[in-house]
Subunit: 139 residues, 2 copies
């Protein structure tokens, strides 16, 4: 019969650190490795930052988490389940808004049809100017 635990099912060893990293990503929604470490330290104070980085990578390799780029650097991690929205990042005020992936459906199809390119619209944020900043600047 199957392994009874999602990590073991993926062929990974079940360590407290690994479970806690995965749990933290799920609770936080979006988080930098630093934020994940901070969260994990609430219950496991000794965890090392490099362990967090390594586990995020491992969990990403088996498809349990993914990373996204919301800003000009770094990455944020989220559970693989919630690939539900794309991010609208405002370059002026830095705000991050959400939009359903459907708004990109035409775009994604066009790239598939014209270039055979299979687009993941969630990996990079969508960059631009939010409505608030746009109305402000055109005053």
């Amino acid at each position: 019969m199957a392994d009874q635990h999602e990590l073991r099912d993926k062929g990974l060893r079940l360590t407290p650190q690994r479970e806690l990293v995965l749990a933290a990503v799920r609770e936080l929604g979006h988080a930098t490795p630093e934020e994940v470490a901070e969260k994990v330290r609430q219950t496991h104070p000794g965890i090392n930052l490099s362990t967090v980085y390594r586990n995020l990578e491992t969990l990403e390799n088996v498809g349990l988490v993914q990373h996204t780029h919301l800003g000009h650097g770094g990455a944020t991690y989220h559970a693989a389940e919630e690939l539900t929205h794309l991010h609208l990042v405002c370059g002026t005020c830095g705000s991050v808004g959400d939009a359903p992936i459907d708004v990109a459906a035409n775009f994604v199809n066009a790239l598939a049809d014209d270039y055979g390119f299979k687009t993941d619209v969630t990996h990079f944020a969508v960059y631009g100017t939010c409505s608030a900043c746009f109305t402000a600047e055109s005053k």
Copy 2:
């Protein structure tokens, strides 16, 4: 009468380093700060990397250059004039393809209409899987 030089027109001092950085960005099309520095050193060997970074920032502030993110980190710079295409980055093989901005027109309009968000499709690359890698992986 007007200043006769684009840098002075923007209110910037005209230094050899600054001119060379701008010229390098224009010649290179897309380039990392490191690549810009390398190019500039061909005619001005002594230029310091921090001078390149500072000038790229200055030139971006006055709108003569812009930066884009093609990969998971770092930025590449290009002349502001050539906002002509978007980049299709393959997460599997790392290749960077081009596509005209028009393919995103519907997407951009949808975001504008539904969210008042003014999208710059060129700031972040479009991430996904290129046709070569996609056919390979589904073999």
